[in-house]
Structures are given as C-alpha cells and as structure tokens.
Symmetry: none
DNA sequence: GCTTTATGAATGAAGG
DNA sequence: CCTTCATTCATAAAGC
C-alpha cells in the first residue's frame, strides 16, 4: 500500500491485563481476562455451544469474579466463538502433512519471555484434543493454520474461507507473469 | 490469539524471514508481494469492497501465482482496506464543511450499496460519499445503569438479557440438557 | 538497531 | 445462524 498518510494522533493504549475490575479500565468493549477466556473456552470445549439465558446468567455471574463482565458478553462470546470455529473449519486450506500423515500445527510457543508492551493477553496454551485428519481435501499447503476437515452441508455457499492452493514454485526472482488481468477472472 | 486453535491463547507466530515470493518464506504472517497488492488495490478501486467467498477464492487463486497466499489473506485485506479507508476518511471529514454548506450525514452509505447483495460480479463502483459526521454514531460512554437489552428472537427463550432481575426466580427451571460440564456452577 | 509506521490478524459487538 | 463493522493486537517494513 502506498498511503503516505499520517499515522495517528495520540494513540492510547488501554488494555489492562486483568484490571477490569480493579484498575481504571476504560469503558468501551469488554476485554476478557485470561481467566475468563479460559473458563469460557473450557465450557465451549465441554460442549456448550449455545447457552440458554439461564446458563448465560450463571456463567456471567461466575466470571464476574475475574473481572467486569455482562451477560451479553457471554452471549456474544459464544456466538462468535462458535461462528468462527465453524468458519475456520470451513476453510479448506493449509494443513501441513507429510505423505498422508497430517501434522498438527505447531503451537510455537517459542518465545515465551517476550514481554511485549501491549501484549497483555496471557498465554495459556491449553492443549486441545488433536484428532488426525485422514483425508486431505486439498492438494497440499503449508501453513501454520490448522483445521479439522469437516464436511458441512451448508445450503448456501457462503463459506468464508475456502482456499484452494495453487502450488507454484520457482526461484526465479524476475518472474513476471502477464499481469494484465483486468479483473476479468472474476 | 489466532483463530486456528481454539485453546491456544498465546500462539506466537514464528518469525518469518520475509522472503516472500522468491525465497523460502516462513509463515509468519502473510506478506503480500507488490503484484498482489497491486491487483488487490486495483480490485478495490474498481469497486470491490466485500468480495464473496467465490470471489475471494478466485482472487486468491490468481494471486497465488505471485506468491503464497490464502483466502483468508484476501478476506482480511479487503476488510482492513475498507475499514481503514473509512477510518481515514472519517478522521479527515470530521470537520469538512464546504464553505457553509453542510452535507447532512446520509446514514453512512448504508443503503447505497446494500441493494446489491454482492453478486458474482464486481460490485458497482460504489462511490463512498461519506459526508461529515455530526454525531458520533457509536460513542461508548460507560453507563452502568442501563443495559441495552438486545431483543433477540431466540426461539427457545425470549428473555434474553435481563440484568435487572433474573427471570426465573429460584425455581431453576430446566436443568441443563446434555451438557457434561465439569464446571460445577452450571 | 531502535523507534515509528503500515498493515495483517483477531475479536467484540451488532444487524439482519 | 450469517455477515459486517469497529477497534485492537501484533509484527514486518520503513525511517532515523
């Protein structure tokens, strides 16, 4: 991109690590603490997908111990998490596999001591059950993104990330294909 | 956290050697080549703002010729590009009064392009008029007192967010179905 | 090589 | 449920 525009004016970081309840957390949107996320994730993994109002209330109440939270946050969290889980599953892409053994993506917690300034999201690796994928739907890709191939019968074709990798490989630096496409391929 | 692992909270990307198209590129984050950016920009300028999945795929396929790319990269690119365009424009037009004539905010171009539901073709140019903004559409002022009860047409329970009082009293109506939650409070 | 900027990626919040 | 927007986080690239 070539936007020689000025950047920003007086950026202000807020994102207290867990100071939702204690610190002077700025209003705005809910910023879950690590504990909250962990618990929510655990619930999700336990199979909870669409909590009822009652469940939401209870969850919210419990999580309020770790920081400010509202019911709607819980509600949205599950909505988003579920949707994005599905979304990423749809993404028929990039899974590293050797021969026919698919290697789950490395979790790359290489530099743990990277104390970033603004990174306040405490990392909590929390391994997940890894099930092997036995059928690579796509050719082969290499990326760190994983997916558990899931056959979804969605009526609409509005899957978000569908990716078919077109393998290309050449070390020619000066390659320059006929970049003339007037968007015609769309 | 990346969206690849549901439990992976602090997944850090491996450093990338950024040898994108030519060299051995590690997968840190996608680093588009000049050609890719050029094409994407051109598409954007042609009016494409929110490509459909199908378009994303085609674009991705085309661009993969110039270097490694995934669909989600295209998706994110358009998301970001559109958002930042808007952001920039908003920032500038915060006080754009042409002499004395103030153009009233026309609902933020909502209905300009909404008619068109993303056909398979490139959308119409969709000129962004973006007039000045007199009111902060989404000013987040923390008001603890109220809760915007989201009227959500939930089939099962109609009382979605009720913060003021719990709807069910103490009877605790329905016990949770098939949830095998280890979290006791539910 | 350290700081600043540009931008890829993620996610909370809505709208429909 | 699905899509989209706003904001934020993280980091490669650019500038000093």
């Amino acid at each position: 991109m070539n936007m020689d525009e000025e950047g920003d004016e007086g950026g202000f970081y807020m994102r207290s690590s867990s100071g939702n309840g204690g610190g002077g957390s700025k209003c705005g949107r809910w910023n879950p603490t690590a504990e909250q996320v962990k618990l929510l994730t655990e619930l999700f993994r336990s199979g909870l997908r669409t909590p009822t109002t009652d469940q939401i209330q209870k969850i919210s109440t419990q999580l309020s111990f770790y920081g400010k939270i509202e019911s709607k946050n819980v509600f949205y969290w599950f909505q988003n998490h579920k949707a994005r889980e599905r979304q990423k599953r749809r993404k028929v892409s990039t899974f590293r596999h050797t021969n026919n053994i698919i290697i789950p993506p490395k979790s790359t917690s290489s530099n743990i001591n990277n104390n970033n300034l603004r990174n306040t999201r405490v990392s909590e690796p929390e391994r997940v059950i890894e099930t092997l994928q036995l059928f690579p739907l796509n050719s082969f890709c290499e990326s760190e993104t994983d997916q558990k191939v899931r056959v979804h019968a969605n009526c609409r074709d509005n899957s978000m990330f569908c990716y078919t990798h077109h393998p290309h490989g050449h070390g020619d630096p000066m390659e320059h294909p006929p970049l003339d496409l007037r968007l015609s391929f769309l």
